[in-house]
């Protein structure tokens, strides 16, 4: 197992998150979205990514954090997934960081139980915590019976 990993990082409601670099297809600025009526609130809409239709999920809602302010436009972190790409809406994009495995720890108690399910753990960096998001779990939810709506 390699002792250094690379993460694509971003901010969501003041929290600093990271996703393994290999999982990220691309990072792009705010794209106009088409809303999907009757879909759970987590689904912000659909975006046109070079001819492909990609579902955009609002991470704030997925993690049950406060909603973004109206004027602030989110950025898109497009992650690869077996059934196609999915875009995660985040507040701001950070750099690609390399972290030491030794600084890894299981998820903190402070987060809600639902949120903790989506988090694999944290890396203790110098100034703050890097929270590792489990993208597989983040994009999976049942649109019809979702209790997140």
């Amino acid at each position: 197992m390699a002792d250094r990993k690379q993460f694509a990082t971003f901010w969501v409601d003041g929290h600093f998150f990271g996703v393994e670099v290999e999982k990220v297809q691309e990072v792009i600025r705010y794209q106009e979205m088409t809303r999907v009526p009757l879909a759970p609130q987590v689904v912000s809409g659909l975006i046109n990514l070079r001819g492909r239709i990609v579902t955009a999920l609002d991470l704030r809602r997925r993690l049950e954090l406060r909603d973004r302010e109206e004027q602030k436009l989110p950025m898109n972190v497009v992650v690869r997934h077996e059934d196609g790409a999915v875009s995660l809406l985040v507040d701001e994009i950070g750099d690609v960081l390399e972290v030491e495995e030794s600084t890894f720890e299981p998820p903190p108690e402070a987060l809600s139980s639902k949120a903790r399910q989506l988090i694999r753990g944290v890396y203790k960096l110098k100034d703050h915590l890097l929270i590792v998001l489990d993208t597989e779990k983040a994009v999976k939810f049942d649109a019809v019976n979702s209790d997140l709506a």
Binding site: T34, V36, P37, A39, L46, R52, G84
Partner: protein, 955 residues
């Protein structure tokens, strides 16, 4: 190493004469012709390719053999088919031998010998022999699949089968000699019509030398004899000279094989994945073309526009062409069924006659794969459960042979497949009982159920009324899986049954998946696509018509469409969206309030009041005004409450709005009197109320506007019609259907999404899902024909649907709606002159325009004048045209004005008074002339002929 009779080295484990050396599959041997050394039978790369081709061709052949044998069973003396079956087995045997598959070769050898006797006529095909041969085919298939998987034919012991085949041979024996002599005359002189210029197969004599039946000297002698005047065929001469007759036959057949394989070269095998890739690319191209069309519409450059049109044409043709490559006739699945039905009937002890209609009906390849299993299951059901045993049938007065009919046909953009039998039908009572037993429904519900609902029970998972579970059906996993699989591809299944008479199962599936024409609509500020296949017609109601047209029956909104009640579904409500109605729509609905401005203004209040509190702005109560003085107030107490006061949402807005202004004034008072704490409280109330006002205003806008402007899209879902009310109706476009992500698949109201020409995403509505959600279609697919209100027809009336027009001089005219293809409107500028005729560019062709006024005799004098001045077309900016299609060609009838579509009673018609009309009738209280469309068009015919010439040149 032993040399085989072909002259090439033979593998020591295949001690059979390599008679297949000239089969195109065993190409390797040709490479060594003339060389002393040989490639041998070693397994190398070339060999693997050869094996692969052998497998593919043999599998294809086996399918054909299945069909042939079943056919032969009822037509046992068909020599052609017997010979064909023989040849195929012969080839398989030969190649198997060459490739070292000795077991396969042995089995097919036994079959070949049996077939040889059948072909010769020394043995007559019967059921036992057929079964034996079919068993051999199954064994061959088994070995082929072993070869495919493990490169070996497997360890199976087939001595029993071989024994059976050998025993079957020992039927009658007739003198072989005479039979063979007549065979020798059989020379396939007819060359296939489409023989491509491939190397001709070697002449008979050479072939016989090569297979070792004769030696060169014999051939030379025979040829000399021929030259000397012997008029017999070479084969005959050789037999006379002592060549074995069988060898002649073999050689003749080999010759024919070679010829046939040359013909097959005109088709080509393509990997399906490759075709899928092409389809995707074409889909992308369609999207790009749509975008370019959008840009082009904004451009003035004629060169660019021309090129764009060309791109448009080419893309459309390419799309059609690629889709065609994936279309296969349903026969590719159906061809297996004769065998399946035969075996099944035999094992069930029943007699079944299979009939197939429409086997050339084409489907996309992926769909064919998807319905293969469901159809097989349905057929098994029919034979196992539906059709009774011969005894029972005789007792019921039916012929002993049960009839199983497969029908396939295109209808309304879908492929319909019917599986019907004339069996016992479905026993409704037993079905109900079983359902209650399995806990699928309660006894009370079962008692109340209609026959239709009871039949639907069969589709529930876990259902089975089979008395015993056979390995065919009865495990209770059948019909529900069929239904699920069919619905997965967007289709539907339906059962109809008459006790004692039979059962019919209807399957409907959409024709193409990827690119469909759709009508674009807008609701709540968003665009949605409605697949045209569900679209019946469009209705627009404005003003009074809108208010009166929407009636409430049992609390549900309906619209009376030509006498029929059409349930209405409001898309906004179903999708639960509120959105901003466009300015144009509002104007058409003649509502005097600018809602978005009103919303903005009320949100601004908070900011301004904050500034007042901070001292940056000063305002008195007077300046703020009362709640009746702002724009919203003026409207409310003017048009608003007067016209819409009855709507509950209006009461809400009045209250909220009043409260809002009360607190505004309260704030200003407090500020003036210095009570800052109170002022802050008022401000927070103002904040809350302003948001409330804005949100209620959205709903007000919706309901108010929608009261005065109703756009109805009449749709069909599953045999039921309903009207979908939307904010706006836009154009029809061709869209590429893209699936929704897994997270959204559960939303039944959407069938997918597409990318519009401007790059934005639009959702595609799933009409059936929408209808089910809105409950205009019962979940259990209740046809409920009785509920449709039928127009009351008195005796002697003949009702026809007519298109009403305003003719010259304000007179009324009508055209039967059946003759109308489309109604169009063109700007005057779009009308061009060509060949002395007025034409317009319409849907990629040049459509001639005929002025109705011109053709009607009365106005001839006037029309000549107008014609001279070139002003035959009415003066309006937009010209209304009724498009009539005749054998694929469009003609446009220019009329003054299109009025309406009505149902009229043509029973009381008056005779025609002038040419170009069929008579007159009273419609809606006005005397209306019925136009004779045919005559009118023919009057323009001379121009038509020119037109045809023009287009011939262009093509």
């Amino acid at each position: 190493m032993v040399w085989c009779a072909t002259g090439f080295k033979k593998c020591p484990i295949a001690p059979i004469t390599c008679a297949g050396a000239f089969s195109p599959i065993a190409k390797c041997f040709h490479l060594a012709i003339g060389e002393a050394t040989t490639i041998g039978h070693r397994r190398n790369e070339t060999m693997d390719e050869i094996v692969k081709e052998f497998l593919v061709e043999s599998n294809e052949n086996l399918e054909q053999l299945d069909r042939d044998l079943v056919h032969l069973e009822s037509d046992p003396t068909n020599r052609e088919k017997l010979a064909s079956v023989f040849r195929t087995i012969h080839t398989v045997k030969g190649t198997a031998g060459c490739l070292g598959f000795s077991r396969l070769a042995n089995v097919t050898h036994a079959g070949e010998s049996l077939l040889s006797r059948l072909r010769d006529g020394t043995l007559l095909l019967n059921q036992e022999i057929t079964s034996g041969l079919l068993a051999m085919l199954d064994v061959v298939r088994e070995m082929l699949s072993n070869i495919e998987a493990k490169e070996q034919e497997g360890e199976g012991d087939y001595t029993e089968l071989i024994g059976l085949l050998t025993r079957l041979q020992a039927g009658e024996t007739a003198p072989a000699a005479s039979a063979n002599a007549s065979d020798a005359k059989y020379a396939p002189e007819t060359t296939p019509a489409t023989a491509p210029p491939v190397a001709a197969p070697p002449p008979l004599g050479d072939l016989m030398v090569q297979i070792g039946a004769i030696v060169r000297e014999q051939l030379a002698t025979a040829l000399r004899q021929q030259q000397d005047g012997d008029s017999r065929r070479i084969g005959e001469i050789l037999v006379d000279q002592g060549a074995p007759p069988n060898a002649v036959v073999d050689a003749l057949e080999t010759q024919r094989d070679l010829r046939e394989s040359a013909v097959a070269a005109s088709t080509i095998r393509v990997d399906v994945g490759q075709l899928d890739k092409l389809m995707n690319l074409v889909g992308e191209l369609v999207l790009v073309r749509n975008q370019i069309l959008q840009f082009s519409a904004a451009q003035q450059d004629p060169g660019f526009q021309q090129t764009t049109q060309r791109l448009n044409l080419v893309t459309t043709e390419l799309q059609e062409g690629v889709m065609k490559t994936r279309m296969q006739p349903i026969d590719t699945i159906w061809s297996k069924f004769p065998r399946v039905v035969r075996d099944l009937a035999m094992s069930c002890g029943k007699q079944v006659r299979l009939e197939m209609e429409g086997k050339e009906t084409e489907l996309d390849k992926t769909l064919i794969e998807a319905i293969k299993d469901p159809l097989t299951h349905l057929i098994r059901n029919s034979v196992d459960h539906g059709i009774e045993s011969p005894d029972k049938r005789a007792a019921a007065g039916k012929p002993a042979d049960g009839r199983l009919l497969l029908r396939a046909y295109h209808e309304g953009g879908q492929v319909n497949i019917e599986v019907s039998d004339d069996g016992a039908g479905v026993a409704i009572d037993r079905v109900k009982r079983k359902a209650v037993e399995h806990g699928l429904t309660s006894p009370q519900k079962a008692a109340q159920m209609s026959e239709r609902e009871a039949l639907d029970l069969l589709f529930l998972p876990g259902f089975s009324t089979a008395q015993k579970i056979t390995n065919v059906s009865g495990r209770g996993v059948g019909l529900d899986v069929v239904k699920t699989n069919i619905e997965k591809i967007g289709g539907s299944v339906d059962i109809q049954s008459v006790a004692g008479k039979g059962t019919t199962i209807k399957v409907k599936i959409p024709l193409t998946l990827a690119i469909i024409p759709a009508l674009m609509v807008a609701t709540g500020g968003d665009r949605y696509a409605i697949p045209q296949v569900s679209l019946l017609e469009l209705v627009r109601l404005e003003g009074e018509q809108a208010v009166k047209g929407v009636e409430m029956i049992h609390g549900a909104p309906v619209y009376r469409l030509r006498g029929r009640l059409l349930p209405l579904v409001y898309l906004k409500r179903e999708l639960n969206v509120v959105g901003h109605v466009g300015k144009a729509t509002r104007q058409r609905a003649s509502v005097a309030l600018d809602f978005s401005l009103a919303r903005k203004k009320h949100l601004e209040w908070k900011k301004r009041l904050q500034e007042v509190l901070d001292g940056k702005l000063s305002m008195t109560e007077q300046q703020a005004g009362s709640h009746k003085e702002c724009a919203l107030g003026k409207w409310l107490y003017g048009q608003g409450l007067k016209e819409f006061g009855a709507l509950s949402v209006m009461q809400e807005i009045e209250k909220a709005h009043q409260g809002f202004h009360v607190h505004v004034r309260g704030l200003l008072r407090s500020k003036a009197s210095g009570d800052l704490r109170q002022a802050e409280e008022e401000l927070s109330r103002v904040d809350v109320l302003s948001k409330e006002v804005v949100s209620i205003l959205e709903r007000v806008e919706d309901e108010v506007v929608s009261k005065y402007l109703v756009n109805i899209v009449v749709l069909q879902a599953d045999d039921r019609q309903f009207g979908l009310v939307v904010d706006e109706i836009n154009d029809t476009e061709e869209i590429v259907v893209k699936p929704l992500g897994k997270q959204l698949k559960g939303l039944t109201t959407f069938a997918g999404a597409t990318i519009m020409g401007d790059g934005r995403v639009a959702l595609i509505l799933d009409i059936l899902g929408l209808a089910q959600k809105a409950r205009v279609v019962a979940e259990a697919r209740d046809h409920g024909r009785a509920e449709k209100a039928t127009p009351v027809c008195e005796q002697g009336e003949q009702h026809h649907t007519l298109l009403l027009l305003r003719g010259p001089n304000g007179s009324r005219m009508a055209v039967p709606l059946g003759l109308v293809s489309r109604l169009e409107e063109f700007p005057r500028s779009a009308i061009e002159h060509s060949g002395g005729q007025q034409v317009v560019q319409y849907r990629d062709e040049i459509m001639p325009l005929v002025s109705v006024a011109e053709v009607l005799a009365e106005r001839r004098a006037i029309t000549r004048e107008l014609a001279d001045s070139g002003e035959l077309i009415p003066q309006n900016e937009k010209v209304q045209v009724v498009v009539h299609s005749d054998q694929g060609r469009n003609v446009g009838l220019v009329v003054d004005r299109i009025l309406d579509i009505v149902d009229a009673d043509l029973g009381k018609q008056r005779r025609a008074t002038r040419a170009g009309t069929l008579g007159s009738v009273v419609v809606q209280g006005h005397v209306t002339e019925l136009l004779d469309v045919d005559t009118i068009i023919r009057a323009a015919e001379p121009v038509f002929a020119d037109q045809a010439k023009l287009e011939g040149v262009r093509a």
